[in-house]
Every structure is written in C-alpha cells, then in structure tokens.
C-alpha cells in the first residue's frame, strides 16, 4: 500500500513541478523574445523562481522516499 502511495505521490510531484517550471520557461522565453536586451535579468529571475518550485518538489519527493522505505513505522 505504501508503495502505491509513494508511486502516486512521486508522479503527482513530477506532474506539478513540470507544470510550474513549464510555465516559467514559457513566460521567460516569451519575455526574452519580446525584450532581448533584458535577457540576463530575465534568466536570473527565471532560475530563482524555478529553484523555489524545485525545493517544494524535492521535499515532496523526500516524503515519498520516506513512505517507500517505511521509515518511522
């Protein structure tokens, strides 16, 4: 049961993180295309936002690993 839960959790995390990072990438590339001279600033902001999403996704992934390994049961 816990393996099913961990698998589903990891899947949902991947889905959500991919969705978030996809939106960031889309808006960043659009902004760079519209204003190529601000590419450096936009890249920095893009990375910073992507990193926050990654952090949340990784915490979710750790929870799934703990679930799968059965730590604390």
């Amino acid at each position: 049961m816990q393996f099913i839960a961990a698998g589903f959790g990891a899947g949902i995390i991947a889905l959500a993180a991919a969705f978030g990072i996809g939106i960031i990438g889309k808006s960043a590339t659009e902004s760079i295309a519209r204003q190529p001279e601000a590419a450096g600033d936009i890249r920095g902001a893009m990375l910073l936002t992507a990193v926050f999403i990654e952090g949340v996704a990784l915490i979710g992934a750790i929870v799934c690993i703990i679930l799968a390994l059965g730590i604390g049961q």
């Binding site: 990375l47 910073l48 990784l58």
Partner: protein, 354 residues
C-alpha cells in the same frame, strides 16, 4: 548522416550475433558475484576509496566517558574494546553505545580536499594581487583570469544584485567561498570511485546552518520587525502571521540543505541504476539483447554524466544565489515613509471627495 546511422545499426546487429560468444567465456565466474551496492556508491564510509584500493580511515570514538583512537574499524574490533551488535552497530564491549563518533570518514576527506583547493586557489590569486598584478595591470595567466571571472561573477550577479548597495561588500567573501567549496565538493562526485560530499545531509545541513547564522546575525531591526510584528497589517492578523514568519526563518535553510542534498544524491544513483539495466535485461531477455542494449545504456550514461556536471555547477550557483537572496532580505532597511506618504495621499483624495 544516413550512412552513419546505417553503419551504427549494422554494427549493433553484428554485436547481437557475437555477444553470446563474448559472454560465454566468463559465464561461470559471474555466478557468485555480489549484487551492485547502489547506495554504497554515495554514502559515507570508514575507508577512502581509490581506483586501485582502499585506505582505512581512523576512528575517533567517545563512549562511556572515555576517548578511543583507532587507525581503522578493524583495529577497533581487534583490540577487543568494541564489538558489532545486531541492531546498534558498533558498540563498546560492555554494550555502552558510542556517544560521539567524530571519526574521519570519506565524505569528510572530500570536504577537506575542497576547502584546501579553495584556499590554495584564492591564496595564490590573492598573492598576485598583492604584488599588483591584475590591480595595476591586466590580469595575467590562466589562474588569475579564471579567478577574476569567477569573483566578478559572484560580486556582480549575486551580491550586488540582491544585497543593498552599501552593504554587499561584506558578504562577497562568504558567497565566493561557499560557491567555490560547493563546486569542488560536487565535482568530486564525478570521479567514478569518489563520492560527492554534498550527497550527505549533514554536510549540506552544516552549510545551510552557516548561511542561517550569517543571515540572522546580520539581520537589521526591520528584519526582526517583519518577523515578530509585520508592519501594516491589522493586529489580529499577527496571530497567524508571526508563527508563519518564525517558521519561515527555519524552512529557508532547511529547503536549502534538502535541495543540494537531493540533487547531488540522485545523480550517481541514476547512473548506477541505468548501468544496472544492462544486467536486468541480460537476466530477462538473454545475453544477446542485454549486451546490445548496453550500447544504448552506456550512451545514456554519458549524457547523464554531462548533465551531472552541469547540475553540479548549477546547484552550487543556486545555493550561493539563495544565500545571497536571504542575506539581502535580512539586511535590507525598509523605508516606512514610503507607506506613510501613500496613506497621506489616500487621505488627501478622501478629503477632496468630501
């Protein structure tokens, strides 16, 4: 292009016919081999692994009010003072658990290597600057040029960008050191026999704790006011906001530690697992398909290896970037008069309407 693809497919087919013959020779010796220890490739050990062998590392243990020093785990066992128990692992002969285990481990060695490399590079560059090279003249030589590019990058892209103009200079040395040290620690993980020290939660937690200390110590009055009494919100909202803000102080370094740890841990595990697919395929579909698909898995591993090198640099950058952002948030001084003028402006508008 098409010719090359055709040639590759042809060689794959040829390999498929020949591979059983290749495997047949050492089929008997394969039977009694231990399975690949995936986690063992990334976890901490009491020995230092080299391509040609292992070096046992000293154990420094504190149990029951006494210190014990041994040249290796084996010598600790041979002396009779320590025994290995089923559940607790290494304990003293009378069952007393080890209170402190500050043994030198493989990850610690890599941390030391990284710090020494960082120190040497910075010291050599600093000595040249003291002599005037690079300060009065153009930077000379590969070392000085690389150092300057890196240092200016940290200063302009991270420190100047996120920390207020009049204060950023104090934090550039810290950010530079942490960037270079983490980069070296991550890059050591690319060696097949070595492990990235940052794939250990204690190492990343320590690094994040240092950032936490720097952030809190350099926090201004405004920083603490934002934590305990967020300005400009109704009093009742503080009951919710203050615990959230206090929690926020700790979740930031926590996320910092977890991020670096999980990223560095996953890289090598993925490489070992994908190489392990060769053996899984051999088991499932026979030696021919196993060896042939091995070409694909090895190519995938090479691609992953480059990705890992990229991730090593990106994660060091991200750690430094977020340290800079957190420090910048803490040392910032908010100008409250800005809010007051907007309130006064709103009142002006309101009186005009009356």
């Amino acid at each position: 292009m098409i010719i090359e693809v055709r040639r590759a497919i042809a060689s794959l087919i040829i390999l498929m016919f020949f591979s059983p013959a290749l495997l047949a020779e050492n089929a008997d010796t394969e039977q009694n081999e231990t399975p690949i220890d995936v986690m063992g490739k990334v976890t901490n050990h009491d020995y230092f692994e080299l391509p040609w062998g292992k070096i046992n590392l000293p154990r420094i243990l504190y149990a029951g009010g006494e210190w014990y020093f041994y040249s290796s785990t084996n010598s600790a066992l041979e002396s009779g003072e320590f025994i290995i128990e089923e559940e607790a692992g290494l304990v003293r002969y009378d069952g007393e658990p080890i209170a402190f285990d500050i043994s030198i481990t493989s990850h610690l060695i890599y941390v030391w290597f990284s710090l020494i490399l960082t120190f040497i590079i910075t010291y050599l560059a600093g000595r040249k600057y003291r002599r005037g090279i690079g300060r009065d003249t153009e930077p000379k030589g590969a070392l000085l040029n690389m150092f300057e590019a890196l240092f200016v990058f940290i200063r302009d892209q991270i420190a100047k960008e996120f920390i207020p103009e009049n204060k950023y200079e104090k934090y550039v040395p810290y950010l530079y050191t942490i960037f270079l040290a983490i980069t070296f620690m991550n890059l050591f993980g690319l060696l097949p026999w070595a492990a990235a020290a940052t794939a250990n939660l204690t190492v990343t937690a320590t690094l994040a704790f240092i950032t936490f200390l720097v952030t809190q110590i350099s926090g201004t009055k405004d920083h603490w006011q934002h934590v305990f009494a967020f300005p400009g919100v109704p009093k009742w909202a503080l009951i919710i906001l203050t615990p959230v803000e206090i929690l926020g102080l700790f979740t930031k370094p926590f996320a910092l530690a977890i991020r670096l740890f999980a990223n560095m841990l996953s890289g090598k595990i993925m490489i070992v697992c994908i190489l392990g697919l060769i053996f899984v395929f051999t088991e499932l579909f026979g030696a021919a398909i196993g060896v042939t698909s091995g070409v694909f898995w090895v190519l995938l591993t090479v691609a992953l290896y480059f990705l890992k090198a990229l991730v090593a640099l990106i994660q060091a950058y991200v750690f430094t970037l977020l340290s800079g952002v957190f420090i910048g948030m803490a040392v910032e001084e908010h100008h409250l008069d800005h809010d007051e003028t907007s309130v006064a402006h709103a009142q002006d508008v309101a009186t005009q309407h009356h």
